[in-house]
């Protein structure tokens, strides 16, 4: 470390020594730099929304409906208002009646229910009090008279005539209906040598970020400031401004540290909307918060679905056509569910090649908590059904499941039958590598593994950022600004991107430093703030490293150009002869010329020209076809991966343990290997937990019965298997900065299928129902035993 200059020179070994990057190998990316927010997080100094306090701050809570479907006849708040410390109680009459939602095609949610409540927990009133304790007392004192209505709780039957209507505007409770046909699937099925149909049942899960949502609203002098647990300050700003008729510039949204998002913190909630009203009415800051049970009720987690998958084949194992017919449970509101619906089928053609595809789907409204975009968005459950189906096909055709996948694997620079354009793709190599790592051929030989043991495979692919913004606009999807400190010893990156734990701030600073020729260690970041940082749409669709990465790269390159120009002036050399690496500027043609440091050049720049600033912006090029829903599933780039799991099943109890899991990724250039591995581990663990352990359960009145971490069993450190990661290294993806690819969501695509297929090999039992809980596995084993006995 050069103490005088305050510059740290990187000495880490480099991951990409073997790759040439336009004549200059990167030094700031491809390295496991420590997280920029690591120290504040390990010392407890970092502040999340719920940790913040403001003078005179009140605490607020929402009152939820106890009924899944009920007319609100009257609300009496008088008793609550008498309680000492209760400052304000609001109901629908006190809030705007403009319907909102994150998907513009279906704005269907009110700030507080006007006519009726549509699920247990639907927001009916809100309170602001001097402390948390008083909030709970106030909620209990609000008297609401309901007329309980019959509820639509089963999405399988919600479309039938005579079922209770969740929203009058949507007949037969159909929220979204998709009927896509690409190629001629009917003909392909009619002419196929072999066809098969399987049906799988999904289940409701909820990502349960460990940080419960909270929001602090401060409405003062016509300006609204909101601190909140948000994955996207922009979408919050846009929708909050829209709801209250404010100018976007008068709504300041700040996302402090966020304790996990997984898609569930992408849209504003009653906490932000009601908190704003309560703050306006009381003239004081109001902190609103959900407790754990309310988190489960607010939900916006994984859709459950009924998945029918059919495929048509040549006998040699060539896949020709696929038909899928899905029904999914959307819950009471749309949330991000339209996109989820299109993703459910739209992403299926990515990993394997087939020319004919039919995709039908109904997303149903039910009187249950609304579902949204949970990690992997619409993909994981359909992918489970599809990967299960593939192993059934492999068995019918007498082909090894890995061979079957290799035979039909996606090729690079191809277009899927539904119009998704793939550039680089190394899934084939990933399959090869997985086969070697797992000792696949040996383990799949009958009798090789002990009784009750099995190994299974799944694959996945995901968008590296969505092709289109969530609401229609023509803004660039990412922008960034870098300001170098006057003396050049630090540089600050400004962007609205949000770090929800995935490591975006670290990775974006690495990308900026790389582009600047600077050092990551001297980077600072100011982000997740709509007033001080330029636009970025936020953390979703695995987009930031690529799209915001482009903006950071371009901003960094602008700085580097200015530095080189100034250095040229200082050294009397043409800028084209200079390079800037790790904060050192040197001459290519005259190696003996004493190099300059970035900081001395930056200081000189400031003295001559003023602030050293670079800006960058990135707009996604136009992608996709012209059919309805074509924008969903488009992306500038797709990641690919495959996973295997080796399991042991106790046939007497159904208990399943994953002994070892493997992941091979085609993730292009990796910016930070440690963070990348963390994403893969986390996605696998979350996927595995969803597969065998988690399920949100309801009583027959639509009330959640396991809305806590005792009953909703997230796996623990004792449940995760050993895990081996591998990469198929590459850097030739043309659409992203340095050829990187997403990592956060594709990684949980293969998991359910891999576990199911391993159990299939271990026991011969097909788990057609999620979760693959011990009891469900035991039941499947019992069923098979009975069937086998009947055959004899």
């Amino acid at each position: 470390m050069n103490e005088e200059e305050g510059i740290v020179y990187s000495k880490e070994n480099h991951l990409y020594d073997h790759i040439r990057f336009a004549g200059q190998r990167p030094t700031q990316i491809g390295v496991s730099k420590p997280r920029i927010d690591g120290v504040p997080k390990v010392t407890g100094a970092g502040k999340y929304t719920g940790d913040l306090k403001f003078p005179n701050m009140l605490y607020g809570k929402l009152l939820g409906s106890p009924h899944a479907h009920a007319k609100i006849l009257s609300i009496d708040t008088s008793e609550a208002e008498k309680i000492p410390g209760v400052m304000k109680v609001i109901t629908a009459k006190d809030v705007p009646d403009l319907k909102y939602g994150i998907s513009p095609a279906r704005w269907d949610e009110n700030v507080l229910c006007i006519d009726k409540a549509r699920f247990v927990g639907d927001k009916v009133a809100a309170v602001a009090c001097v402390d948390e304790e008083t909030c709970y007392k106030a909620l209990k004192a609000i008297k609401v008279e309901y007329e309980v209505l019959p509820a639509a709780l089963d999405y399988h039957t919600a479309m039938e005539d005579g079922q209770p209507q969740v929203h009058d505007e949507y007949p037969n409770n159909i929220n979204t209906e998709i009927h896509h046909k690409f190629g001629d699937p009917d003909k392909a099925f009619a002419e196929a040598e072999y066809t098969r149909t399987d049906i799988c049942e999904g289940h409701r899960t909820y990502s349960s970020p460990i940080e419960p949502h909270s929001a602090i609203s401060i409405w003062k002098d016509g300006k609204l400031t909101v601190y909140c647990s948000s994955q996207s300050v922009h979408y919050f700003q846009y929708y909050i401004a829209r709801e209250f008729g404010l100018k976007m510039g008068d709504v300041h949204v700040i996302s402090p540290l966020v304790g996990g998002g997984f898609g569930q913190k992408l849209e504003p909630t009653g906490l932000e909307f009601c908190g704003a009203v309560l703050s306006k009415l009381t003239g004081r800051p109001v902190k609103m918060f959900y407790d754990r049970y309310e988190m489960f009720q607010h939900n916006r987690g994984r859709h459950q679905g009924h998945y029918e998958v059919s495929s048509a084949w040549k006998k040699d194992g060539t896949m020709q056509a696929v038909k899928v017919n899905f029904i999914t449970d959307g819950g009471a509101y749309t949330s991000l569910g339209i996109a989820t619906a299109y993703y459910a089928g739209g992403l299926l053609p990515l990993t394997y090649v087939f020319d004919h595809f039919q995709f039908d789907l109904l997303r149903m409204y039910t009187n249950l908590p609304a579902c949204g975009a949970q990690r992997g968005h619409g993909a994981p459950q359909p992918k489970y059904a599809f990967e299960s189906h593939l192993d059934n096909v492999a068995m019918d055709l007498g082909i090894d499941p890995l061979e079957l996948r290799k035979k039909n694997v996606r090729k690079p620079y191809t277009t899927t039958c539904n119009g998704l354009q793939i550039q680089t793709c190394r899934l084939g190599e990933a399959f090869e590598k997985l086969g070697e790592m797992t000792d696949w051929d040996k383990k799949r030989k009958p009798g090789h593994l002990p009784k009750g043991r099995g190994i299974g495979i799944g694959s996945g692919s995901f968008v590296t950022g969505a092709g289109y913004p969530i609401y229609r606009n023509d803004w660039p999807s990412s922008s960034a600004m870098i300001r170098v400190n006057e003396d050049g010893t630090a540089a600050t990156l400004y962007t609205q991107a949000v770090d929800i734990g995935q490591g975006a701030y670290t990775v974006l600073c690495q990308e900026a430093a790389e582009a600047m020729g600077y050092c990551y260690e001297n980077m600072k970041i100011v982000a997740g703030d709509t007033e001080v940082a330029p636009l970025d749409f936020g953390a979703y669709a695995s987009r930031l490293t690529a799209t915001c990465g482009w903006a950071c790269k371009r901003a960094g390159e602008e700085i580097k150009a200015k530095i080189l120009e100034t250095a040229g002036f200082m050294l009397h050399l043409p800028p084209e002869d200079l390079i800037c690496v790790d904060g050192v500027i040197s001459s290519v043609s005259r190696p003996k010329v004493k190099p300059l440091t970035f900081s001395e050049v930056a200081k000189k720049y400031f003295i001559i020209k003023g602030p050293l600033v670079g800006t960058g912006v990135y707009t996604v090029p136009r992608l996709g076809g012209y059919h309805k829903g074509a924008p969903v599933a488009t992306s500038i780039c797709y990641s690919f991966c495959t996973q295997a799991a080796e399991v042991e099943v106790d046939e007497e109890t159904g208990e399943v343990a994953v002994l070892q899991a493997w992941d091979v990724h085609d993730a292009g250039t990796v910016i930070n290997p440690a963070l990348m591995q963390g994403q893969v581990h986390g996605a696998f663990a979350m996927g595995f937990s969803e597969t065998v352990s988690e399920q949100v359960l309801f009583d027959d009145k639509g009330k959640i019965i396991n809305g806590d971490f005792g009953g909703y069993r997230v796996i623990t450190a004792l449940d995760v298997p050993s895990f081996t990661n591998a990469l198929i290294p590459s850097s030739d993806e043309p659409s992203t900065p340095w050829g990187l690819k997403e990592i956060g969501e594709g990684s949980n695509n293969p998991t359910m299928g891999a576990v199911r297929n391993a159990i299939f090999q271990a026991t011969g039992v097909s788990c057609e129902k999620l979760p693959m809980s011990y009891e469900n596995i035991w039941r499947a084993i019992q069923k098979k035993k009975a069937a086998d006995a009947a055959k004899k």
């Binding site: 948390e132 304790e133 709970y136 407790d291 007497e652 109890t653 208990e655 352990s693 359960l697 019965i705 396991n706 005792g710 009953g711 069993r713 796996i715 623990t716 450190a717 004792l718 449940d719 809980s773 011990y774 009891e775 035991w778 039941r779």
Partner: protein
Amino acid sequence: MYLPDFDYYAPESVSEALDLLTEHKENAKVICGGTDLLPKMKHELLAPKVLISIKKLPNIKKIEYVKGKGISIGAAATHNEIVFSEVVNSKYPSICNAAAQMAANQVRHVGTIGGNIVSAVPSADLPPILIALGATAKIAGPGKERVIPLEDVFTGPQQNCLEANELLTEIFIPDGDMTCSTYHKFALRRAGALAVVGVAVALQTKGCADGACSIEDARIVYGAVAPTPMRGVKAEAVVKGKMATDDVFEEAGKVAYSECKPISDFRASEEYRRNLVGVYTKRCLKRAIENGHK
């Protein structure tokens, strides 16, 4: 979540504690670890006006061996104090293992044996093994003290036999003739999960070292499959006086399957619980004979 207001007392003698209980009757609740009580209060299932902490009572956390008689465990001994107790480990490691299977480390440092018993949750992990080993409970009341078999404490799900002015002060595990014991739970996650089924077995065996292992006496207790911890008297009858063979264990499992009285809830169905009781009874018998009290 929040706790409703209450007054708090920390008496330093049993008589003082009993006076407070007598004074406040149903309005009072005894708090020891609080890991069961406080969540119930947060869920508004209980709203006591008075909490009486018994942590400061003399000897209430003491674990000792009374020579020639047995092990005495104070009601406020925490699960981890039992897990790491040399006294208990040297005599009945099976009790320590049962305590170690409970909840999470953070809870085991706070939750107590007394709380685990008086809360009378059917899935509690300690009662089955304690009952299998013939434990008794000492209950202090105004001007009297009674000692009853532990199994008599339980009268229903989350219901015990204590009067409002009584206090559980000690658990006693008498020296006995049992040569081996074990407790195993089946839970839906490897840590921090309630028992879906728990089975405890204590056996008196003879001749096992010589390869002709016979079962002289047996006590089998099922947890989480009846309103209270349940003695498996029919399964006991199957194994008593028999040679310890896989067939006998299998048969005991079948009897256990039919004699237990589980219900269905969101964790497991009745049918699945029955199956698990059968499997775990069979396995526990085998493991106890193989491992002694370990």
